[in-house]
Symmetry: C2
Subunit: 202 residues, 2 copies
């Protein structure tokens, strides 16, 4: 059976739980205590040298880290990852954008605040940088969603799953208010009523 090294507070891990549920795939969940350093211990680093969850371990022992690569793997051959090159490219475009321009700002601030990490001099200055970049990312999303119901291919895909994960909890991240983004809020509601949706805490 598939094994998911997981953490219930992680939006990246939630993407994978949500996707596994949509596919109806059974799996064993191993909750990792990130705050206690569980993902930085040698036994876990031997599985994922990057020291992060989520990590999927397949039946044949293959180890697959990186939440959006896991989404693409689990979606391949389904409607959630289009096969035609143009739509496939746009789905990937938003997956990479999420990991580069959205997650390092919105998710990292949420992590620092909700996990009460030490506020070093670097982090104190980084908060302002990340807040500005997070607001810019929400602006890019709002513009796109004003003209589109979903991020790519004219329908619900893993691009929406990836961007939903940390956007719907952005207000936990200190300073991200979704009130000025009506198109984002309408899209969040559309994602939440897709078949076989589950909340981040499930």
């Amino acid at each position: 059976m598939i094994v998911l090294y997981d953490n219930l507070s992680s939006g990246n891990a939630y993407k994978v739980r949500l996707m596994l549920h949509k596919r109806g795939l059974p799996y064993t969940r191993i909750e990792m205590d990130i705050d206690a350093g569980a993902t930085r211990r040698p036994d876990f680093l031997a599985l994922n040298p990057d020291g992060r969850v989520p990590l999927l371990v397949l039946d044949d022992g293959t180890k697959l880290p990186e939440s959006n690569a896991i989404l693409a793997y689990l979606a391949k051959g389904t409607d959630l990852l289009p096969e035609n090159a143009a739509d496939f490219a746009q789905v990937l475009r938003w997956l990479f954008w999420e990991q580069y321009s959205h997650e390092p700002n919105i998710a990292t601030l949420r992590y620092w605040i909700t996990h009460k990490v030490e506020m070093t001099a670097y982090r104190k200055l980084a908060i302002e940088d990340k807040r500005a970049r997070g607001v810019a990312a929400l602006g890019v999303m709002e513009t796109h969603l004003t003209a589109n119901d979903f991020f790519a291919a004219g329908r619900f895909t893993i691009a929406d799953i990836a961007l939903y994960a940390y956007t719907h909890v952005a207000e936990e991240g200190g300073g991200f208010d979704l009130a000025p983004y009506p198109a984002i809020r309408a899209w969040l509601a559309r994602v939440a009523v897709q078949p076989r949706h589950i909340p981040i805490t499930a």
Copy 2:
């Protein structure tokens, strides 16, 4: 004809030039003066709201940003992006890892230093953080390449193209010395002798 909004100093843009050359696809190149703010002007933001190069504009007017999404688009259906799900997943895993754990550290430091950006209080502290994370990323690569000739699928793929782009110029980034990484250096040499290789300046 395909249009590439490009910058010759950008490793992300180089990935696309290298891939277009490998495919033998003709294209029109538009050099963007990043230092002069060319990618932040309204006319370019209308093409890519993220304000970054590379941006590919296809014959039908489709706009595709995100270097690794462009690689996947151009590689789809070729040996450079495996079709079987397991190898496909590992290629994507390394593409996402490159953009999350490698590029923001090694490429950003190179950019700050070679483009002589203003050293704000935030950037001065961020340099130490990025240098440590860059060294950690090189360690992950060295471990992987000690046991593997290429990053995924047992052969040269777009995962190698993506990681080559900024690794082979890491020493321009202030403080990254590749001497302690013999497996990385051997892999760089293997990549550089693949068919239809071109240097970053071409």
